[in-house]
């Protein structure tokens, strides 16, 4: 049972990293629907780098770098070129699916490295996730930088007039978002399930995206949602731990996705909507072009 819980918390950490990146993106007004693609890139290149250098550090740094690069690419498309953010995000996701399938294929199989040391039975990534959640909550709501990020996502024209560089803040947000998604992917492929296989993520990025909508753009709620879905995901992989013999394993694999859909419906109810509407970054998804 403890092992089940530990695995759940580690799954939660992956949702947390990817979700936090997307949350900061969206707080700055940029929607990146392609985090699954960034995660695939981070996971694949991190895996290859770690295996070739026999160093986890190298793998994680590689994942951060490719994440940064893809975040900036999304920024270039959506901030500088003013391309529709959904088109650009979809592009990054499909590019991730397509290119990592080809790049990673020769590395199909287990990572074959000694496991990362745990602290109190949990990977260091879980603790790192919690620390980041608190730090980002503080940054977003208690510092002037956080205020700038939020105002850029809320009303970029007003922010610009008050002397904030919308472009710089937004680039900062997408850079951070990309790095976090790349990192989340590497945590998956280097620790959570260190085996490379084609399109192995199977929806983690899209669930993380849904979690951000659910979180009302608050890191603390995001963490709670990530914990919930970490447990749920783990349960869908090992249903026999809780309900042996009930439903087949394939039906269980559908459960996290079905519950995500239910949650998305739930947050559309009027009670939730009035609170949600107040939290939603007003300029989310709209390109800002200076005239």
């Amino acid at each position: 049972m403890w092992q089940f819980l530990a695995r759940s918390l580690e799954a939660a950490a992956i949702f947390t990293f990817a979700g936090l990146g997307e949350l900061v993106d969206q707080r700055g007004g940029i929607l990146n629907v392609g985090i699954e693609g960034v995660m695939l890139f981070g996971a694949t290149l991190g895996f290859i780098a770690a295996q070739n250098s026999n160093s986890y550090l190298v793998g994680l740094v590689a994942a951060l770098l490719i994440g940064l690069l893809l975040g900036l690419l999304h920024g270039f498309f959506s901030i500088t070129l003013g391309v529709d953010q959904v088109v650009s995000g979809m592009g990054i996701w499909i590019a991730g699916l397509g290119l990592t399938t080809y790049i990673g294929n020769p590395y199909t199989g287990p990572l074959g490295m000694e496991r990362i040391q745990t602290i109190g039975g949990l990977s260091p990534f879980f603790y790192l996730g919690v620390v980041l959640v608190v730090a980002l909550w503080f940054l977003l709501f208690k510092t002037s930088l956080g205020l700038k990020i939020r105002s850029v996502g809320e009303n970029p024209s007003v922010a610009e007039v008050s002397g904030i560089s919308v472009t710089a803040i937004r680039y900062g947000c997408v850079a951070f978002g990309g790095m976090m998604a790349g990192f989340a992917g590497a945590v998956y492929s280097l620790y959570y399930n260190p085996v490379w296989n084609y399109n192995f993520l199977m929806g983690w990025g899209f669930i993380a995206l849904a979690l951000v909508f659910f979180s009302m753009w608050n890191p603390i709620i995001l963490q709670a949602g990530a914990l919930l879905f970490g447990i749920l995901w783990q349960l869908s992989l090992n249903p026999q731990l809780v309900l042996p013999g009930l439903l087949s394993r394939y039906v269980w694999r559908m459960v996290p996705f079905a519950i995500t859909l239910l949650v998305l419906i739930l947050i559309s109810t009027r009670w939730f909507r009035t609170r949600w509407g107040a939290a939603k970054p007003e300029a989310l998804g709209r390109p800002y072009l200076k005239e």
């Binding site: 629907v33 650009s88 699916l97 849904a210 394939y250 996705f257 998305l264």
Partner: protein, 376 residues
């Protein structure tokens, strides 16, 4: 910005004519192909030789051409599944799940009529084949309609919902065809039972008859978009949902409608590949490969700017290239996933080129007057 004595600037396009759009799209594809040749160079393969192999297999070789055309039909249907909601400003990336459910429904008809027992069971094709197609369309329409309803009634982001439904449908197929699922092959393989020979779809010169449906849909959709009231309402809603509401258009109804239509066509794509393509006639073990292939429909839909007729040559090109890419990776001993790499490169190039649909580059000699605009 000044480059070599020219004043280079950007100008927002007022309007984009058809030929300009076609030219930009052509440039985007060419740039993607140049990028794709880097993949060959990195693998130590001469890209020109590789392209010659790809295109000659895809469009000249007799066996390759039939496979290319089968993929073309599949991609064209996937493209339409994307285009219809896209006209209304909505993203259907759920063609994958819709085609899975569509194929399951088509096989459900055969199963209900006792077609699982043996490949030699006789079922009247004139009756059962239309039933299978109808079931496939309904199955796809239901899954699509669900996403449309969630969007229209609950404002659930359709990208997220269609993607979540893709995964649900993916596991549903596994449930049905693997580990004792009711559609599982009686010989115990992790694929569906084989279609009885009597239900193998008719072919025209080796090409599944579904080609006629796909091409007829091009005309029907063109007519629907350009000449009917519903087509106008879909377009108006896509351009400005708020204004459309004042014009008496019901947003939930439009979003359900476009997703039902798109889903039904995606369901037919599932019927086409798993029940009409010669040599397949089963829901294959690697069905997710075809699910991923359907994502080419997004690219083809974007490149053809939602025009059903323009989608035909684009789908033909992509169908041929993905088929040729798959073949050349075996022939030249390259890694698996060459067609996936092409998919990714095409997509990311196209995103970059989106810019040129909205802006044009102007350049002007420092001392001279008059704009010279290059298209693209």
């Amino acid at each position: 910005m000044t480059i070599a004595g020219y004043q280079v600037g950007l100008k927002q396009r007022a309007a984009l004519s058809g030929w300009q759009a076609a030219l930009i799209s052509l440039f985007a594809i060419l740039v993607a192909l140049v990028l794709f040749s880097l993949v060959f160079i990195l693998d130590g393969v001469n890209p020109l030789a590789a392209y010659r192999e790809i295109f000659s297999y895809a469009f000249v070789n007799q066996y390759g051409l039939v496979l290319s055309l089968s993929r073309f039909i599949f991609l064209l249907l996937s493209t339409y599944a994307f285009i219809i909601p896209a006209r209304a400003g909505l993203w259907n990336i759920g063609m994958t799940g819709q085609l899975y459910v569509g194929s399951l429904c088509a096989y459900g008809v055969v199963y209900a009529l006792g077609g699982k027992a043996s490949q030699s069971v006789y079922l009247p094709p004139l009756l059962v084949i239309p039933l299978m197609m109808l079931a496939a369309a309904i199955g796809g329409a239901l899954l699509g309609g669900l996403a449309g309803l969630l969007k229209g009634r609950f404002d659930v982001n359709e990208i997220v919902s269609t993607m979540l439904l893709n995964f649900i449908a993916f596991w549903l197929v596994s449930e049905m065809i693997k580990e004792g699922g009711i559609f599982m092959n009686p010989q115990g393989r992790s694929e569906s039972f084989a279609l009885p020979a009597s239900l193998h779809a008719p072919t025209i010169a080796g090409i599944p008859f579904t080609v006629l449906i796909a091409l007829a849909l091009a005309v029907v959709l063109k007519f629907l978009f350009d000449k009917t009231r519903i087509g106008y309402q879909i377009k108006a809603f896509g351009l400005n949902p708020a204004a459309a509401r004042y014009a008496g258009i019901s947003p939930p109804a439009i979003s359900v409608l476009v997703f039902v239509l798109g889903g039904a066509i995606a369901g037919l794509a599932g019927y086409h590949y798993f029940a009409a393509v010669p040599g397949v006639y089963k829901i294959a073990r690697n069905y997710s490969y075809f699910g991923d292939l359907a994502f080419y429909g997004i690219i083809a839909g974007l490149i053809s700017l939602g025009d059903p007729l323009a989608a035909i040559p684009v789908s033909l090109l992509f169908g041929g290239m993905s088929n040729g890419g798959r073949w050349v990776q075996g022939k030249l001993h390259m890694g698996f996933g060459l067609d996936y790499a092409l998919l990714g490169l095409l997509m990311i190039t196209l995103v970059g080129f989106q810019f040129f649909y909205r802006y044009q580059i102007t350049w002007q000699k420092e001392e001279a007057h008059g704009d010279v605009a290059i298209p693209g």
